[in-house]
């Protein structure tokens, strides 16, 4: 087999050489540089759905662009920064949006907190205060027990299709109304109860209950 071409790039000032086709996310992992992700899983094809992994990059043709690290292949001579204020602000924005959708999952709340994001009435960031109000409105309307834990990363849908091969669940509706569903919101006839969806879920939104 022909030897794969290696591409050189720098991430946060550190040089790394990786095979052609490697994503920025995987290249950063070689350097133990953490890039937060919520829809990425090493066993799944990239989805680029949560947009949390954006990094700032300069390539031969583009200067200072934000690129999703999970869905962007490295280029020769690329200069990547994961530590700029622009990247930090992009992450805060995504965390805030996802918390407004699913304010309760402890894993998500903790991860967001590590990146400096928490929705509260007295948050210094007006975006967090605004989204807190929206969560409170939703809580009032639906009851706290009915708030969603799902952030629509689709890892469950993808693992069921790509790894298990069953396609027992899918997305339903579009836009803000989108949700993950079984066919006709009934017990999925193709589900084999393997639990893969619950295993990959980053917010523990899926629970497995014994079949009746």
């Amino acid at each position: 087999m022909a030897k794969q071409k290696l591409l050189k790039l720098s991430i946060d000032g550190r040089e790394v050489a990786v095979p052609e086709g490697t994503t920025i996310l995987d290249a950063a992992a070689r350097l133990k540089i953490e890039i937060p992700t919520l829809c990425h899983h090493e066993k799944l094809e990239p989805a680029g759905a949560c947009r949390l992994c954006h990094v700032e990059a300069t390539t031969a043709t583009r200067k200072d662009v934000l690129l999703p690290a999970c869905a962007s292949a490295v280029e020769e001579g690329m200069v990547v920064r994961t530590d700029t204020e622009r990247v930090a602000e992009a992450r805060r924005f995504i965390f805030a949006l996802l918390l407004a959708r699913a304010p309760q999952p402890p894993k998500l709340v903790e991860m967001a907190r590590r990146y400096g994001v928490a929705l509260s009435a007295d948050a210094a960031d007006p975006l967090c205060a605004f989204l807190h109000r929206r969560v409170e409105e939703k809580k009032e309307a639906l009851g706290p027990e009915n708030l969603s834990w799902c952030i629509l990363c689709q890892q469950c849908v993808r693992v069921c299709e790509e790894v298990v091969g069953m396609r027992a669940i899918s997305t339903a509706y579009r836009g803000p109304k989108r949700r993950i569903a079984t066919p006709f919101f009934d017990i999925s006839p193709t589900c084999i109860g393997c639990g893969s969806c619950a295993y990959v879920c980053p917010t523990d939104a899926i629970t497995i209950s014994p079949a009746e």
């Binding site: 680029g48 947009r51 579009r174």
Partner: protein, 655 residues
């Protein structure tokens, strides 16, 4: 010989009434050229021709009834052989439908607002040629005494350059000979005798850029596809495929350019796609197939396209061994199920593949791995039709109008509060002012123009102070909007910019597929903020929040829908910030649109007690006696605006 070309929708109707020959099947380019020559020889350009504008819009206004009445009139007067009657595609002047054009000896007389009862007089005037029927001629709004007979002198048409739309005015879209008579498919014959590389060179040389809105150079797209076809199937004997796809999923509110071309000139699309197919796959081992992705809401367009496809197949202009060249290509129609996001190229491809219409990660771009993973060239209807013009008339002709970076003409649907709503075609670079004032005739109300919106939910609003900018890709982008696929909405003082932004964000939010977080959730929150502002609950920090969320959605979204959806908000904040501030700080809507922020009052000085408002009010909120003063009870008033519209004395005020 029949005088009327009836729209039958019958695919078998390829018999040639014009030359008296049977259905044609062209085995060589020479056979096609010879037939076109015979058609031309038998055609009398000076013959009295009556054309009825019959797009979906015209039919809704009653074009079918007018056409039927004309046909009866033709039969009654036994005009066969002496005159021709056609139901054509849309002539574009929506505000004056039903349009009838009478052509005689090279002169075209335009009749507006024609009704079936008018046709006897109209035909008589046409046959007698004693002068036009005065009362149906175009009347400029500024002077009720003037009548304009010559179509080319009507300001709406005078300042246009109708190149792409030319056939819409001339041919019956279901009559194959009509298209051939205009030199139809000769460009395809020419292309098939040209090396694909050279053909691509022409397209590049013409400067044609994607008419779907993004403006990517079409020639380069074709070239990239061809390179990928060559490298992917190099040395392989079989199973190589590539695709050419037409994006006819025209979804922008108020846009109908692509529909009109599909309805009025469907063969142009077929010919363009066949030329493109040869350019990207000719002389390679890969087979090329075509798809037209058209929204299901366009039934007439689909019907005409189906008929045209059947005609082209029967004539050996599609299918196996086209014109005896050895090249094979055919086109399938796929109907869109009503998702705006499927206008995004990769979502469109997913939809053709029977998957959920959601965008794919790019790269790989469709030119490398598109439909079914194969190299795919995807262009807008206008781009494909433009390619025919480039091949037919040469790249120099195409590029003879336009600007340095944006060549050719652009088709717009000019709508909103403009006097002459319609479908127009102008050279790239014409200023917005010339378009709106010169062609559009200014606002319908006579009030000053406030703004113009281009590019639908992806575009922005440009203020009246900037109407001197020309329509080309770069200038519009610089101004904070986009070319888009050709929607152009004119707004006057009675348009609230916050309300407008809210409307477009609502479209974006509803049509977002929901795959990525910024577009799905960001737009939702922007819409909520705009809702609060228009309801009078806006907060001081809301404008900053809208700008911040908008900027992030633009930068972080997965596909073009999200990347552009905040434009209506960001551009209106940029140019009409004071209007947002009025809503938030003073709780006022300067345009008088946002119901929560306005009150209706009756001006006692102007009210003469006609009592009309009293009768119209659906909630009995108006007090007053005939010939006495009237008043509105502001607690009971639901602000429906009925009294405002009813009052003939401008006594009802929106404050």
């Amino acid at each position: 010989m029949s005088c009327c070309s009836e729209q039958t929708g019958d695919a078998a109707a390829v018999a040639s009434p014009a030359t008296g020959e049977g259905p044609q099947r062209f085995d060589t380019p020479e056979a096609l050229a010879a037939y076109v020559e015979r058609l031309r020889a038998g055609h009398d350009e000076g013959l009295l021709t009556v054309l009825v504008s019959g797009g979906t819009c015209g039919l809704a206004a009653g074009a079918r009834e007018v056409f039927d009445a004309l046909r009866d009139q033709f039969a009654e007067q036994d005009l066969a052989g002496r005159a021709v009657l056609k139901l054509t595609g849309c002539h574009g002047f929506c505000a004056q439908e039903v349009l009838v054009v009478v052509r005689r000896g090279g002169r075209e007389t335009l009749y507006c607002h024609v009704k079936p009862k008018d046709v006897a007089e109209l035909v008589a005037a046409g046959v007698a040629a004693e002068g036009p029927l005065e009362r149906l001629l175009y009347r400029p709004p500024e002077d009720s005494q003037v009548r304009v007979a010559e179509k080319g002198q009507v300001p709406f048409y005078a300042k246009q350059q109708r190149r792409l739309l030319m056939n819409n005015n001339r041919i019956d879209p279901l009559n194959f000979d009509d298209y051939l008579l205009q030199g139809g498919y000769l460009a395809l014959a020419k292309a098939l005798e040209t090396e694909p590389e050279e053909l691509i060179g022409w397209i590049k040389q013409s400067g044609l850029r994607g008419r779907g809105g993004a403006g990517f150079p079409t020639g380069i797209k074709w070239e990239l596809t061809r390179r990928n076809v060559e490298s992917a199937f190099d040395g392989q004997e079989e199973d190589g495929h590539c695709y050419v796809v037409c994006n006819a999923d025209e979804g922008d509110p108020g846009a109908f350019m692509d529909r009109s071309i599909l309805e009025g000139n469907p063969h142009a699309l077929i010919e363009g796609m066949a030329i493109g197919a040869w350019a990207v796959s000719g002389d390679t081992s890969a087979a090329c197939r075509g798809y037209v992705y058209v929204r299901n809401e366009y039934p007439l367009a689909i019907e005409h396209l189906q008929t045209a496809l059947a005609q082209a197949r029967a004539a050996n202009l599609l299918g196996e061994d086209i014109l005896g060249s050895g090249f094979s290509f055919d086109i399938r129609i796929v109907r869109g199920a009503g998702a705006f996001v499927c206008g995004e190229e990769t979502a469109l491809i997913e939809s053709i593949e029977d998957r959920v219409g959601e965008p794919r990660i790019k790269p790989p771009f469709p030119v490398a791995r598109g439909l079914w993973g194969m190299p795919t060239t995807l262009n807008n209807v206008k781009s494909w039709a433009s390619a025919v013009m480039v091949v037919d008339r040469g790249p120099e002709y195409f590029a003879s109008v336009g600007t340095e970076s944006s060549k050719g003409t652009m088709v717009f649907s000019l709508v909103g509060k403009v006097a002459n709503t319609g479908l127009i075609e102008v050279p790239m670079g014409m200023t917005l002012g010339e378009i709106i004032e010169g062609i559009g005739g200014g606002t319908q109300s006579g009030k000053p123009i406030k703004a113009v919106q281009t590019g639908g939910p992806s575009g922005g609003c440009i203020p009246a102070t900037m109407l001197d900018i020309g329509v080309d890709y770069e200038s519009l982008t610089k101004a904070g909007t986009i070319m888009g696929s050709g929607g152009m909405i004119v707004m006057d003082e009675t348009t609230c910019m916050v309300d407008t932004a809210k409307y477009f964000v609502h479209v974006g939010m509803e049509e977002s597929c929901g795959k990525c977080a910024p577009c799905r959730d960001g737009l939702q929150h922007m819409h909520h903020l705009l809702d609060e502002i228009t309801e009078g609950r806006g907060r001081a920090e809301d404008i900053d929040l809208l700008e911040r969320i908008g900027k992030h959605i633009r930068e972080l979204s997965f596909c073009g829908l999200g990347k552009t959806a905040p434009n209506p908000v960001l551009s209106t904040i940029r140019y009409f910030r004071e209007e947002y501030e009025a809503h938030i700080e003073k709780k006022q809507c300067p345009a008088g649109v946002c119901k929560a922020l306005v009150v209706y009052r009756i001006d006692a000085e102007k009210c003469n007690g006609c009592h009309l408002c009293f009768k119209r009010c659906p909630v009995d909120a108006i007090r007053g006696e005939v010939k006495g003063p009237h008043e509105i009870n502001e607690v009971e008033c639901i602000k429906c605006g009925m009294c405002y519209e009813a009052c003939k004395f401008d006594a009802v005020r929106i404050i």
